[in-house]
Amino acid sequence: MTATEGSPERKRGKDKKDWEPRIVGFLCKWCSYAGADLAGTSRLQYPPNIRIVRVPCSGRVNPLFVLKCLVNGIDGVLVSGCHIGDCHYSEGNFYARRRFVILKRLLEYLGIDPRRFQMSWISASEGDKWARVVKELVEEIKQAGPNTEFRKGI
């Protein structure tokens, strides 16, 4: 299935004025996803640029997913898990942290704007933090501009 073809939202990189960043968030279902839910229940407003992919734990997120997003032209990727020490699976986010620190360095080495990939730790009770993180993230990605790093010559 190629659901992406012909979708009206795929107009990136053409007109800088209308450009809105597209961001993917990988959220662990125990803390960050629930925190995003709480932001909803508290009716906190944040920009609609983020699409959330629900995962059981930040440790589930394979670095390949992040790379795949960036290769596909997504402008920013966020991985968010429970606070360090509060992981539902006791140590999944430790693994995630270690993994993504390395990934971040690798991305930097590859010449990709480090702002495009970010991590955050948001608990189920931090709806406000979620809204804040998204707002800041969107701002930063806007500054970073459209992701063309993987599309040479366009």
Binding site: T4, R22, P48, R51, I74, A131
Partner: protein
């Protein structure tokens, strides 16, 4: 593949900001979508019926429901799918309420986002696989770690339901901290009078086995099938032969400070910790016994009429299987020696609450007299200091230990009862007496027993000419206070046992920064842990008084019994799976698994025509965190329900 999309209005919750009709129309244009509709409340009975009928009419085999958060209604719609004849794991939800309509106001933007969220769900569901629930058998026996009042109550409850329980206790006798108390607040029941009958009940129950003087060495397995290694320390007395006559410890020549009496009294080298000990069998303290230190004496062996003394006894290591574990490992006292301003614990007459309990006990080391440990004189002016260690981020704990207010009030009352001339001065910050009859009790102590309550933390204690000078303040009057005290009782806070993190790691349960075990949910699952089959009770979780401890003990027992009465356990099938063809046997996944849920397995490789080792997931143990999938170089291990293909498809759909 025929996918049905069901868009919920949620009253106006979604419909107000998202144009649901347009969303439904757009969804219908997506490939493989055979049917799309909207309804006011999809989770209601008519809504669910609508889904069932649509499945029947359009022969749908996959369902996407665009509504609220899956944390809320995933279970509802899975069941609904099952009833409609679709595998429950071929249903996905698009969260267009919490993540869309509630957080955005622009109708156009929100509608566009909702459409994309549905596209995401469609992408995922197209890669879903039908999954079957997992079932695991249950070993019908409960292990209770800790033999204090929490463990005792749990054992009684489980035995009452005719299921076997095993108590594991580190000390020679069960009873725990409560056995040391004199009276209990607010009713002033004698602690021994209410605890001893329970201890006897446990010892006489045919369903309860006690491993006293034993420690836990390791835990393997998962809910329904835990294998626990227990070290039964050498008691040097044969528990089957001994009748508890007491001849041995009456004749033992050694005298050392008694741990049970907080060092205020003495015990022998072969001893029972206290007269009501259960089991009533002595133990030899090998560090102090003359036979073990100097190869001399041996009187106990000579005198024992039942030949129960065995100097050559060795530690015994046993393995037992359990279906559930109740953790009742309790607490210990905060060590006030970190307070330099209170003399680094060097003043003999500055004691803790537990010392006071032993002194107030009429069968205790002082025969119920409140004395100064330094010179044995009766104490007249006694200062009680609350919040020692508690509510002090600088030197102690950030939390409130919850019972110190009450036990201090009780001590102030007991002081007056034991010595009419004595005067209690209580330094407090706030009095926290939220419990049945607690406030009334504190008031009684203040009004009828004349305890002087002073609001302020004590800044300094020092010794001068045999008295302890206590410098405090009363913030209510704005006065500095100096009291020449005979005795200072520090209401030390409750802290986790020093080996709590080790136990938590063994059981795979999380603990917080204070080393207290963390419950699965602070409100809705207060005695469960994230490791199914492991339950919490008592002060190992957070400071608790006796009523709360007993309540959680019974709660934990019910949870354990809930497992015991089942023939087998149903589990969500969202666990990791290994693809035997691609697994190279590097076992990086075993390293990454926090739950030891992956094992090595030998298979017959037909292509290579030889045997080789690959990883195997123990479905009962796997919690479905997916950490293993991220380390697998071959992508051979994958997580059902959140598989690589599902997530990749979602990414592609963006």
């Amino acid at each position: 593949m025929k996918i049905g999309v069901f868009v919920c209005h949620c009253g106006t919750n979604i419909a107000a900001t998202v144009d649901v009709e347009r969303v439904s129309q757009e969804a219908a244009k997506e490939p493989r979508v055979k049917f799309s509709t909207t309804y006011r409340y999809m989770c209601s009975d008519p809504g669910q019926n609508l889904i069932k009928e649509a499945v029947k009419k359009h022969h749908l085999d996959r369902i996407v429901i665009a509504s609220c958060s899956p944390s809320l209604h995933e279970k509802t719609f899975r069941k609904c799918a099952e009833k409609a004849g679709v595998n429950p794991y071929l249903m996905e939800m698009a969260n267009i309420r919490e993540h869309c309509s509630w957080v955005h106001q622009d109708r156009v933007e929100a509608t566009a986002k909702a459409i994309e969220l549905i596209r995401l769900a469609l992408a995922k569901v197209s890669r879903n696989k039908p999954l079957e629930y997992l079932y695991i058998p249950i070993e019908k026996k409960v292990l209770i770690i800790g033999g204090g009042i929490a463990g005792i109550q749990s054992a009684i409850d489980i035995a009452f339901a005719n299921y076997p329980a095993v108590i594991l206790e580190r000390e020679p006798s069960i009873g725990g901290r409560m056995a040391r108390f004199d009276k209990t607040f607010p009713t002033l029941d004698c602690a021994a009078c209410i605890l001893t009958p329970k201890m006897v009940t446990v010892s006489q129950s045919k369903h309860v086995t006690m491993h006293t003087y034993s420690e836990i060495e390791g835990v393997k397995g998962h809910v329904g099938d835990f294998t626990v290694t227990i070290r039964k320390k050498a008691r040097s007395v044969d528990i089957n032969k001994c009748t508890g006559c007491g001849a041995c410890y009456n004749k033992c020549p050694v005298r050392v400070p008694s741990e049970f009496d907080m060092g205020l009294g003495k015990r022998t080298a072969i001893y029972i910790p206290f007269p009501q000990a259960v089991p009533n069998v002595p133990v030899i303290d090998r560090q102090n016994c003359l036979w073990f230190t100097k190869q001399k004496c041996g009187i106990c062996k000579k005198i024992c009429p039942f030949e129960a003394i065995d100097y050559d006894m060795q530690d015994e290591i046993i393995e037992e299987k359990f279906g559930a574990i109740i953790v009742a490992s309790g607490f210990t006292q905060f060590n006030h020696a970190v307070y330099g301003e209170y003399g680094y614990g060097k003043y003999k007459d500055a004691i803790t609450g537990l010392h006071f309990e032993r002194m107030a006990n009429s069968s205790g080391p002082t025969g119920g007299k409140i004395i100064r440990p330094s010179d044995g004189k009766e104490a007249r002016d006694v200062v009680f200091i609350q919040c020692v260690g508690s509510r002090d981020e600088q030197k102690g704990l950030s939390y409130c230990s919850r019972l110190c207010c009450m036990y201090t009030a009780k001590h102030a009352l007991l002081l007056k009862e034991h010595n009419k001339d004595a005067q209690a001065y209580v330094f407090y910050i706030d009095i926290r007496a939220a419990g049945k009859n607690y406030e009334e009790f504190v008031k009684k102590v203040q009004d009828e027993y004349g305890a002087v309550y002073l609001r302020g933390r004590v800044s300094r204690i020092f010794e001068k000419s045999g008295k302890l000078i206590v410098r405090g303040a009363d913030t209510l009057s704005g006065a500095q206070i100096e009291i020449k005290a005979d005795l200072v009782v520090l209401a030390t806070g409750l802290v986790a046992q020093p080996d709590a993190p080790g136990l938590a790691r063994m059981l795979h349960i999380p603990y917080d920064r204070n080393n207290l075990f963390t419950e699965a949910h602070p409100k809705l699952a207060p005695v469960e842990t994230i490791t199914s089959g492991v339950f919490l009770t008592g002060a190992c979780q957070s400071p608790k008084d006796i009523p709360d401890t007993v309540a959680t003990a019974s709660a934990a027992s019910v949870k354990a019994l809930g497992l015991m009465v089942q023939d087998r356990l149903q589990r969500e099938p969202l666990v990791a799976k290994v693809d035997a063809k691609t697994c190279s046997g590097c076992f990086a996944c075993i390293q990454a698994c926090s739950f030891t849920a992956i094992e090595e397995e030998e298979i017959e490789d037909k292509r290579l025509k030889k045997k080789r080792l690959i990883a195997k997931v123990l479905e009962g143990v796997c919690t479905g965190c997916g950490n293993c999938t991220a380390v697998c170089r071959m992508s051979a291990i994958d997580l059902e329900g959140f598989s690589n293909r599902q997530i990749m498809e979602e990414i592609e759909a963006l």
